[in-house]
């Protein structure tokens, strides 16, 4: 075995989960190789657009027809413009097949989507972990809140998050910096909710954005241009937080442009001994070896690697004795909500661009099932005073028009629900070897649809949003309930789920592949259900927990 290619641990992927595996494994003493399929992207110095003014960006920040042709999927994302387009893949160079419409938004570079994420960080509760068991849906989570609570705290203390604890059992309190201030309209909505509802409240979202200095980072400078990369390190990203911590140990080797083809399984040892890597530029294959392997390549990325890791022992993909690998794909759905305006409080304004939202925690089906669907949803709530864009839809022009639209307009509110999606066996991914990608790798095929439970939930999401805005005296309230294309919320979950029984799951309660215990999968692919809340904090906590467990078992000679 060539010594130069041998490490204690290999981590595949450098994003949200991979960064945490790198930090925890190196800090616990392991020489760790992190493989990233995309290019290197250095913190701060490679954030080329971070401080550019609108007039300094090409085409005043408008995407061109050429951009859209190269990135027909990525360019439909709300974040996509001239200041961020280089953080998203070229769709033509990174093909996948949509057996059903599916938006796969991603960036191949060091840091992955931790660079462009929306930064909400909520904990799951036992309402979530017990839901499958209680309803007989899917399989039971092999863990409960108590297993994860210390790891949530561990992660929160390190990443630094701000926001407001709701004091609700279904949304456990967190370690948070003080929240960013609400504006006058939000304060009004909050007080109306308090007067009108016993089960609903408006809070400032728990967000991985610093309202105070934290370990030499931040605080937030109020730019709200996070997806360009933050030169102030004020939001959490792998690039700015976990990878530097891993590098500081002297035990990190970070290798970009390294596409993992498959895991190498040794029949005689009954374990994975390493990974086969394609150089992104030369396409040459190199093998790397380690005692423990963490797959953190994103939900679809990790599952694609497992499916492509075929051997006589695992003809259908590594760890796929159960046959469930690739199945039970989930995403949230956010098609239901409402908009409105408010002409009072015209003498109040704000300064700076807050990069967080307001949040209404889940209130449906909490104490008992009360509706014609199971599970629930929370809302993200965005408010502002209208700006010049209100002039776009009118016939107006001229001096009076200009004077009007350059002044702050009415308050406006936009709220959309984020609903849980149930795990369905036939929402799934598989490999198509007949359509290789530019590296000769089989492309991924995705087939996912929302079902009756999600549709009924979405109707109620709209109805509740309208009811709440009307209760807050909001004017011009208009509800919406539109179809969400799966993938669009960018919360892909499942396809290599955890479970108690190797016959029905890929991973155990420590994120270990049941049949190959030195392989851990800790990104969103491990999810057993898709609770209401944004999932990244849970991936980080699961990764930290699994890393500590792996090192402990290695130390005892049990791995």
């Amino acid at each position: 075995m060539p010594k130069a290619n041998t490490f204690d641990a290999i981590v595949v992927g450098s994003g949200m989960s991979g960064g945490w595996a790198a930090k925890e494994l190196t800090e616990r003493g392991l020489e760790t190789l992190v493989l990233e399929r995309g290019r290197n992207l250095r913190h701060v110095v490679d954030y080329q657009t971070a401080l550019q003014d609108p007039w300094q960006l090409p085409h005043h920040n408008r995407p061109t027809q050429q951009d859209r042709a190269a990135q027909p999927i990525q360019s439909t994302l709300y974040l996509y413009d001239q200041s961020t387009k280089h953080h998203f893949v070229n769709d033509l160079e990174h093909p996948y097949r949509q057996a059903q419409p599916f938006n796969w938004f991603r960036g191949n570079h060091v840091g992955g989507r931790s660079l462009m994420w929306a930064r909400h960080v909520f904990r799951y509760s036992d309402l979530d972990f017990e839901a499958n068991l209680r309803e007989g849906t899917g399989i039971d989570w092999p863990i409960r809140y108590a297993d994860l609570a210390p790891w949530y705290e561990h992660v929160e203390r390190f990443i630094g998050a701000s926001g407001e604890n709701a004091g609700l059992a279904q949304l456990p309190d967190q370690v948070l910096q003080p929240p960013f201030e609400m504006n006058a309209f939000e304060k009004h909505i909050r007080s109306r909710f308090a007067a009108r509802f016993t089960d609903r409240k408006l809070i400032c979202s728990a967000t991985a954005v610093l309202s105070r200095e934290h370990n030499g980072r931040g605080p937030c400078q109020g730019r709200n241009q996070c997806a360009r990369g933050c030169p102030f390190s004020a939001y959490f990203s792998s690039n700015g937080v976990t990878l530097p911590a891993a590098a500081a140990t002297g035990r990190l080797t970070l290798q970009p442009d390294s596409i993992v083809h498959s895991l190498i399984y040794d029949d005689s040892k009954g374990r994975a001994v390493g990974v086969r890597v394609l150089d992104a530029a030369t396409k040459r294959t190199t093998e790397y070896f380690a005692r423990v392997i963490f797959l953190c390549a994103s939900t679809l990325g990790s599952t694609a690697i497992l499916l492509n890791s075929r051997s006589s022992r695992f003809p259908n993909g590594l760890g796929n004795d159960s046959g469930v690998l690739g199945h039970y794909l989930m995403d949230h759905h956010n098609g239901g909500g409402a908009v409105g305006s408010y002409s009072r409080l015209a003498d109040r304004y704000y300064r700076g661009r807050r990069s967080t939202s307001m949040y209404i925690p889940r209130f449906r089906n909490v104490a008992h099932r009360e509706k014609n669907f199971v599970r629930g949803y929370g809302y993200e709530v965005y408010t502002s005073r209208q700006n010049w864009t209100r002039g776009l839809e009118t016939a107006g022009f001229g001096a009076a028009f200009k004077n009007e639209i350059t002044r702050p307009g009415k308050w406006q509110v936009y709220m959309e629900g984020y609903g849980e999606t149930l795990p369905y066996e036939d929402n799934r991914v598989w490999l198509d070897p007949d359509r290789p990608d530019p590296w000769g790798m089989p492309t991924l095929v995705v087939s996912m649809t929302y079902r009756d439970n999600e549709r009924r939930m979405s109707e109620q999401m709209m109805a509740d949003a309208v009811e709440m805005l009307e209760a807050a005296d909001v004017e011009e309230v208009s509800g919406f309930n539109r179809a969400t294309i799966p993938g669009s919320v960018i919360h892909e979950m499942g396809t290599a789920r955890m479970g108690r029984d190797p016959k029905t799951s890929v991973l155990n309660g420590h994120n270990q592949v049941h049949a190959v215990p030195n392989v851990f999968v800790t990104d969103g692919s491990c999810m057993v259900s898709s609770p209401t809340q944004n999932p990244s904090l849970t991936y980080m906590a699961l990764t930290a927990r699994a890393s500590a467990y792996a090192v402990e078992r290695l130390g005892k000679g049990e791995l």
Binding site: H59, N183, Y350, W388, T389, F397, K402, P408
Partner: protein
């Protein structure tokens, strides 16, 4: 310049945190300025560019802030039509300009031009964006102007690095709306 001043204010907050001020200072020094330059039109003919210049100033004339052409908005419209507009939108815009020329816009009095544009706005505002000469014109005019340095810093209020967030403050009498 007001944006520069605000930027420095934001930076001074940052510099209080010595632990990372050096890396940011290096980063700022490495930024390359993008110089504005005037050039020959790429999508429009010179005559069409002249008509667009008249139109953008009718939409956003000089008030207590400069007119659209002072910010190069007509050049932006030309460039955006070339690079950002779809073929359908380009065709809609081209036929709108043709209709304008046929109507004798070039030789109209200012009052007649105003009537012409009001009529066009009223008939176009109900059309879909792709079919609407006025909506495309207005979109590029407003984007070009309010994302220009003049538009952002003199017609609106702009802070590149606000330095933080104040959620609930009184609205000053002369307060302009923030740039998005």
């Amino acid at each position: 310049m007001i944006n520069r001043r605000y930027f420095l204010q934001g930076t001074s907050v940052l510099m209080a945190h010595a632990s990372f001020s050096r890396v940011v200072a290096t980063f700022l020094a490495s930024r390359t300025a993008v110089a504005a330059s005037s050039r020959a039109p790429v999508f429009l003919s010179a005559a069409e560019l002249g008509r667009v210049a008249v139109l953008v100033d009718m939409i956003l004339p000089e008030t207590d802030s400069p007119a659209a052409t002072a910010a190069g908005t007509h050049d932006f419209v030309d460039m955006a039509l070339s690079a950002c507009a779809s073929p359908k939108q380009q065709a809609t815009f081209r036929s709108g300009l043709t209709a304008l020329a046929v109507d004798g816009f070039d030789s109209m009095s200012a009052q007649d031009r105003l009537v012409w544009l009001q009529r066009r706005a009223a008939s176009d505002v109900v059309l879909s964006y792709d079919e609407s000469f006025f909506k495309i014109l207005k979109d590029y005019t407003l984007t070009g102007y309010f994302h220009s340095e003049i538009g952002a810093t003199r017609a609106l209020a702009y802070e590149r690095v606000p330095g933080g967030f104040q959620g609930d403050i009184p609205l000053a009498a002369d307060q302009k709306a923030w740039v998005i």
